[in-house]
């Protein structure tokens, strides 16, 4: 690594970190493409047979093999597939004969709208709930709140969704559509009522983790020295909570949101299927049932790349919002510690003075 000591003061210190992080993300994306390719084209002994079923005539199998380029060596297949994917061409859906990218584009918008709705609901709710539970730590409300959250956390998310469908398909509960079949002619924002139940179901399953995280980091922050100092200076408690403590407790929540999004993508698949919501999850489900290979590859690739992107953005936000990291000379890897830990028998012994400051 070049020496950054004589870097001009104008370059932000985190830029070098970000470039490294970007490279890491790209590398991850490449490995992901490899995994998706191996799982779909290399691992099954004959993808054409998987697609057409065990008793398809030989000619149609050969035709499909030629159509998908399966008669080429694996490396050629992979390079061709990767090259096309880089240009935005994910192949042509076997089921509907429409380019996969085109099919995915509309579906992706629907899923993003769903996830945006969930975040808009969960983040403020988790913040207020987490802070208020932390302020009433170990009192009855806190204990009851935590029990309720554990109950929510333990219930598999698709059961929550089924429960909501059950509730709203009962007579007299018709004021919200129990299934979200969208009219493709109308824009999404005119059909918002059908978004409500999927958003609520997903929010309920995402809420416990974030709330508990905010609560824990709030409690930790409230016990720190600067809060004691602020109290001694007579700053009102309300201001201490919202202006001094919360911003510090928020940074871990960014990584929490990223992690939640990752689990939400899986949960969204089930919820979309249950509510018949035309998102990317129902597309994957249908593609798997139709054995539509290019579609499966496209959906999985898009989802995993989205997760990589989310992690990247979360890391960037964390660095930018934490003054200590933003101005640091060298930003270490956040959360996932990539820096090789030296084996303990090779580690230089810390001097007692260092040990004291460390604790």
């Amino acid at each position: 690594m070049p020496d950054h000591a004589h870097r001009s003061p104008r370059t932000p210190a985190w830029l070098a970190w970000f470039i490294g992080r970007l490279g890491y993300g790209l590398l991850t994306a490449w490995v992901i493409s490899l995994v998706v390719f191996i799982a779909t084209q290399a691992l099954p002994s004959d993808p054409a047979r998987v697609i057409l079923g065990p008793d398809a005539p030989l000619e149609s199998i050969v035709t499909l093999q030629r159509q998908l380029g399966l008669d080429q060596p694996l490396l050629v297949q992979y390079l061709r597939w990767l090259g096309a994917a880089l240009c935005g061409d994910l192949g042509i859906s076997l089921d509907s004969q429409v380019p996969v990218a085109q099919l995915l584009f509309g579906r992706l918008g629907h899923t993003l709208a769903l996830l945006a709705g969930v975040l808009a609901l969960v983040v403020p709710l988790a913040l207020t709930l987490g802070v208020s539970l932390a302020l009433r730590r170990d009192r009855p409300l806190d204990r009851w709140g935590l029990s309720a959250l554990i109950l929510l956390k333990a219930t598999p998310s698709f059961l929550l969704a089924i429960g909501l469908v059950l509730l709203f398909s009962m007579p007299g509960m018709g004021w919200l559509p129990a299934v979200s079949i969208l009219d493709p002619q109308l824009p999404l924002w005119r059909q918002l009522p059908s978004l409500v139940l999927p958003v609520v179901a997903l929010s309920l399953s995402a809420l416990p983790y974030l709330t508990r995280m905010v609560r824990a980091s709030m409690i930790e922050a409230l016990e720190s020295d600067y809060v004691v100092a602020a109290r001694l200076r007579g700053i009102p408690e309300r201001r201490i909570v919202w202006r001094h403590t919360l911003p510090n407790a928020l940074t871990p929540a960014i990584q929490g949101v990223a992690l939640t999004l990752r689990t939400l993508v899986g949960g969204a698949l089930l919820a979309e299927v249950i509510f018949s919501y035309p998102g990317i999850g129902t597309a994957l489900n249908a593609a798997i049932q139709m054995r539509d290979l290019p579609m499966i590859q496209g959906v999985v690739l898009v989802i995993t790349l989205a997760v990589v992107l989310i992690n990247l953005l979360a890391d960037l936000l964390t660095v930018l919002l934490t003054p200590k990291l933003r101005t640091a000379r060298r930003v270490k890897m956040i959360r996932r510690n990539r820096r090789g830990i030296r084996p303990w028998w090779r580690r230089a012994r810390r001097t007692p003075a260092q040990e004291a400051t460390h604790d």
Partner: protein
């Protein structure tokens, strides 16, 4: 000794009792069931009667018998998947936390990459391409869970490895493996155990979700997740056919979850290291 300390906590006891009850029901169920799970003995979506306490399902199977026989698959598959992930991930994590730079980086990076796949998507991808044999499903769910265990075990191992007693063992010339498995492993067992409980909860949710989507246990057999799927159409006529398996799944997940939470809380209270 630690076990008795854990059992002193009411939450741990409650979790253990709930988990044990559902396990007992699922394991003994097939023997207690009055009818075979695939025997059609009544009207389609028949209401509860004296002979069939929960009524009948979409093909006229006795719901109670099907419920009793449908737990084993969910149970053994989730326990097997979580155990496999714990063993493989735990060993890899220990190895990573303990070994030199290269191996550590390789393992950690592999764990990071696989964490980019949402669990359910990874499992769906593999199951849809390779088939839905039960052992394959268990294997893929375990693969999906392993990176999490690796990271947890590695983090805890690194924290423990710096402590004096490990250095003492090092001085006394113990072998690598002895240090790993008899010095470090016992000290990171509690966080791993808590994680195991959480994994059980996720596995139950994921496996029943898979069956619900139709990629899990094959149809004629009884399975709680599958039962929710096949009886969905009769939701309004015979709500029990969906509610009963859903409730059992939820109760089992709840039991394992508060058990794990309780153990984690007790160990935090008695001052064990929590990563």
């Amino acid at each position: 000794m630690t076990e008795t300390r854990w059992l002193a906590d009411p939450q741990v006891r409650r979790g253990a009792v709930i988990t044990a009850l559902v396990m007992l029901l699922a394991l003994l169920g097939p023997w207690l069931a009055p009818h075979a799970p695939t025997a059609m003995v009544g009207p389609v979506y028949g209401p509860p009667t004296a002979g069939a306490p929960l009524g009948h399902d979409f093909l006229g199977h006795d719901l109670w018998s099907r419920l009793l026989s449908g737990g084993v698959s969910v149970l053994w598959m989730s326990v097997a998947a979580a155990t496999l992930a714990l063993v493989v991930g735990g060993s890899l994590g220990l190895l990573a936390g303990f070994s030199r730079r290269r191996l550590d980086q390789a393992i950690s990076w592999a764990a990071d990459v696989s964490l980019a796949f949402p669990d359910l998507i990874l499992v769906l991808l593999i199951v849809s391409m390779l088939g839905r044999a039960p052992w394959l499903i268990v294997l893929t769910v375990a693969i999906a869970f392993t990176p999490g265990v690796v990271r947890l075990a590695r983090g805890s191992a690194v924290a423990v490895a710096g402590q004096e007693f490990v250095e003492a063992a090092q001085m006394m010339g113990y072998s690598r493996w002895r240090i790993l498995f008899s010095e470090i492993l016992p000290n990171i067992l509690t966080p791993l155990l808590v994680h195991f409980g959480n994994m059980l909860t996720w596995a139950v949710g994921m496996l029943s979700g898979l069956s619900f989507l139709g990629y899990g246990v094959a149809p004629p057999a009884a399975d709680w997740g599958l039962m929710i799927n096949e009886n969905q159409a009769g939701l309004l006529v015979q709500p029990w056919a969906v509610l009963a398996p859903a409730l059992l799944i939820a109760v089992f997940a709840y039991g394992t979850n508060i058990l794990a939470e309780g153990i984690g809380r007790v160990s935090a209270r008695i001052g064990e290291k929590q990563p």
